[in-house]
Symmetry: C2
Subunit: 154 residues, 2 copies
């Protein structure tokens, strides 16, 4: 099925990218998953302007991806913490890391090693099918419009 | 471990986002995975300017994510096809789709249904650990610098 048959307003990718589809936002999210929570720490780590950082953090709060938790009064200071909706972005960040490690590693070595505490081993992320558990390859996927959603739009 | 200890120049996310980290590029890639190959088809489907589309396609060719394959001479016309490096971006697009379906579906229905031709079932993508095969949760991941890469930088 071709894109023109699917409907732009109704695309999960388009709608997701409206939330996080710019480089700085994805870098902010990457930092969130590395444990960064405070404005000044994002600012120092990312080397971007206060204006851009404020805009990106506010947008993520507005979309329910981050929440502001006060940790100090007079003056008020906030932590920015991932909500469940934010934590659910983890597979996207993992997939980006995986690709970057594969194609941009220096001498074949990833810059960061990740350990899965559940099994205790250093790991890479693998994207698998919810039904058969096998890795998903692009040429083994076919798509069709959801007839129920067509009805909603009509 | 905190971001400032890891080194910006050495981050797989930062380096990956230099290739595809803007909304239009990700939309172009989404279309590639839906089978779109020709300039005019991207143009019509995405409703963006010829200048932006040309820029994004050229950048993806330059980074080895797409390749130009001539399908006509006088005048020369090209298909834009995903290379292996490009096809390896599929898990990222899948993860974005998954999140969008989860949080922006209309009445809980995803706009597009995907079938895994290997097992024949409609599926969702799941990100699992390469070692134990269990789904990866953000709070079950710890990170450390790769000592071999530290040596390369030093």
């Amino acid at each position: 099925m071709r894109w023109e048959d699917l409907g732009d307003q109704n695309c999960s990718v388009a709608r997701s990218l409206a939330v996080f589809g710019d480089r700085w936002t994805l870098m902010v999210l990457r930092n969130c998953f590395l444990g960064v929570k405070r404005f000044d720490d994002f600012l120092r780590d990312l080397d971007l302007s206060r204006t851009i950082l404020t805009d990106r953090l506010n947008k993520l709060v507005e979309h329910g991806v981050l929440e502001k938790i006060p940790y100090q009064v007079k003056p008020t200071r906030h932590d920015y913490r991932l909500t469940q909706k934010g934590r659910d972005l983890h597979p996207i960040i993992m997939a980006i890391v995986q690709w970057g490690d594969q194609y941009y590693a220096i001498d074949g070595e990833p810059p960061i090693i990740r350990t899965h505490t559940r099994c205790g081993k250093d790991f890479q992320s693998v994207t698998v099918c919810s039904e058969c558990g096998e890795p998903i390859l692009a040429h083994e996927v076919t798509v069709r419009s959801n007839p129920k959603v067509r009805k909603v739009i009509a």
